[in-house]
Subunit: 427 residues, 2 copies
């Protein structure tokens, strides 16, 4: 396209699409730091990286009937061949499909992770973007409390890998089975009322106390049940659960889990009976990592044991434990605790031509690169001060000028842009 065609047209907006970000080098460096830290940690636990397509058939998400994700938040459309598709709003259906397609060939427990982007049509706000990046970590085919303990250990290590300590975050843990035991056996609610209560408790912190109490009363029916619920909320550890609930199998399993976590020296986990985390998705332990900074008091990510959805794709079902930290919430956490290192890393040497020395500049640059250095060459022919300014702005460590004299003698001077020191360079 030629310039004249262009300038005759309406000017287009230089802003990115609503709810998405442009990742300029300084932003991309933060993204890469977080991705690299995730990746190294996952690999140290023997997780293998995978990737999945950007699009999936819409029905994969619609299958989660009633889920506002498929109906209101997907970027769904019909492709040029008439297929209804969606830009992935999450990874679980894709990785479940991939496991289903190789259900017999894979080695179990299968430890898998990916770092990918997703899109959801939501109102953008601090910590929430329409295009967002997530680490997805899942273990397929590992049953029992031990697998849940290990995934919690991994979540804890993942936070520490960024230099965080236990004062900065807290991992709240509950169990879907315990929630079930609470609503059905302990409180004696039917399935509908049980689900209503779970939904209500899930929103407890967002509701005024009296609204919560009135709604709870309506669901619970009796004074006795109200008192029982109070007793549950009073439990700040697995040891102080009311007797009727403490005796359940679910409580025994979560006690086993906490005993294991203690033995592993993990002190960031805390039992939280009010943690609901999704309605129908999870089947066992659930957890959520919270930032303890009052200025950034948000959920960082969550996970737990869930139905791996593998059966949905015609394969033998396989349960999974996993979690999915987001890039943006992680970045906000690191910023709120001042944990981001200095990441902008310019080249080792900025080689600048003095006048018409392009070829000689490229030759020197090639030589220095062969020594393992990163080298940017500048053959713009600009003046010294302009070249130095550009090299500084780009974060280069040293600058070397290539002029007639240097080329003739083969002796160059490398000037440190931070200290001003010069060193002799022979080439």
């Amino acid at each position: 396209m030629k310039n004249d065609t262009m300038t005759s047209m309406t000017t287009l907006s230089p802003q990115p699409y609503k709810g998405t970000r442009d990742w300029y080098p300084e932003d991309k460096a933060v993204q890469n730091y977080i991705f690299d830290t995730w990746k190294a940690t996952m690999q140290s636990f023997g997780f293998c990286e995978y990737g999945a397509p950007l699009l999936e058939p819409l029905e994969v998400y619609a299958a989660k009937s009633g889920d506002e994700l498929a109906n209101e938040q997907t970027y769904a459309f019909t492709d040029r061949g008439g297929r209804e598709v969606a830009i992935r709003p999450e990874m679980t259906p894709s990785i479940s499909r991939m496991v289903a397609a190789r259900r017999q060939e894979l080695a179990y427990p299968a430890r898998l992770f990916s770092i990918a982007n997703f899109m959801r049509y939501e109102r953008p706000q601090r910590g929430r973007e329409r295009e967002f990046w997530q680490l997805n970590a899942d273990v397929f085919g590992a049953d029992g409390v031990a697998a849940e303990a290990e995934i919690l250990q991994l979540a804890d290590v993942l936070m520490k890998a960024f230099g965080a300590d236990e004062t900065m975050y807290e991992i709240r843990v509950n169990s879907r089975e315990l929630i079930e035991a609470m609503t059905r056996q302990y409180l004696g609610l039917d399935e509908t009322r049980g689900k209503q209560l779970v939904r209500l408790i899930d929103r407890k912190n967002k509701l005024p106390a009296d609204v919560f109490r009135a709604s709870a009363r309506e669901i619970l029916g009796t004074d006795e049940n109200e008192a029982k619920l109070e007793a549950i909320f009073a439990a700040d550890s697995i040891e102080t659960l009311p007797e009727g609930l403490a005796a359940s199998d679910a409580a025994a399993r979560i006690r086993e889990l906490f005993a294991m976590l203690a033995a592993l020296g993990i002190s960031s986990t805390r039992f939280d009976v009010t943690l609901m985390r999704g309605l129908d998705y999870y089947t066992g332990t659930v957890f959520e990592v919270f930032d303890t900074d009052p200025q950034n008091n948000r959920s960082l990510f969550g996970g737990g044991r869930y139905d791996g959805l593998v059966g949905m794709f015609g394969a033998e079902p396989a349960s999974a434990v996993g979690f999915a930290p987001g890039l943006t919430t992680t970045e906000l956490f690191l910023r709120s605790h001042d944990l981001l290192p200095d990441l902008m890393d310019g080249v080792n040497i900025y080689v600048a031509a003095v006048g018409d020395m392009a070829l000689e500049t490229f030759q020197l640059a090639a030589k220095l690169r062969k020594e393992g250095l990163s080298v940017e060459s500048d053959v713009s022919g600009r003046k010294f001060d302009k070249l130095i300014k550009t090299a500084e702005k780009k974060g280069a460590k040293e600058i070397v000028f290539v002029g007639a004299n240097e080329v003739a003698t083969g002796v160059y001077s490398a000037k440190n842009l931070a200290t001003g020191e010069e060193r002799r360079l022979e080439a």
Copy 2:
């Protein structure tokens, strides 16, 4: 979602969406190897990594009027807010928009690269997928032949970074200015006929010789012009161009370019007067890298000097030189020349519980990870032979069993899974 809800539903297909790939760990390892090699090379030349949104307003692509990309190949749709958008089919408009948005703040020449996925609605075939990955490398604001020489040097280094040598690939080089001089001054064609000839030459290798000759005759008009075109095709180097064309400014510039490439020791480049590479997009040097393997005789990637499209977004225009290698063509090249190293890299140690030793297994694994090792723990409680088989399948280097005796003594045995050798491990 519960299992019973799932199984009552129609089974979904485990296949990926047409024209996309599932990246299982062994495929992802190849992808990462290529991405990492690209990234290291780009950084050694002082290029900074950026990222761009997945979606752009459709008009950004539609602005290239007449381009089949926008009209037939985009994944375009209307979002829930009524905006017409497209999944990016290429990076040039996005990075041009980003440069426009910070036109004054950026340091020039701005060296930028990204590794990202794109989607085009095309018929999938070998080497072409609907979702594809590309490296995009661009220098904004560097004029002159030298910038073009450096980008060709970079393309050459990028191939060598994978272990390729000059017998495996060839970089064919031409110039849009030379094409212009050829059609307008040398052959005396008007603009319409000039473009017709360019399009015809672009398809030369796909047409039967007689069809090409007849079409060319129609465009060229005279016997004299036919002879002139023959003389051009006979030129296999910049030195053997017919006199009338050799005297043009465009030929002088391309001679300067080749002199510089020779002085830089680059022997993979070859002048090719028939290389057309796009109609209106490029403005100076154009090039295309070809695989020389007759079994995989394809264009690997191309690039050149082009209008950076920055002006389209209301900022002062900035020209650019760049190129964009694709993941799939690179992978096919590496496979055709047997250049792919062994990439599957399992954990250092597979720590397996013998019976009910989950906690002790996790504790040993944590200890070993602190020593910098990658460790996978297996607390499935399966039998020895099953555990060994799984560890082997996963590519682990050593296996360590955690049984009552080992825990009691603190002495473990690490068995090399390739050689069978055992070594003592104290923990």
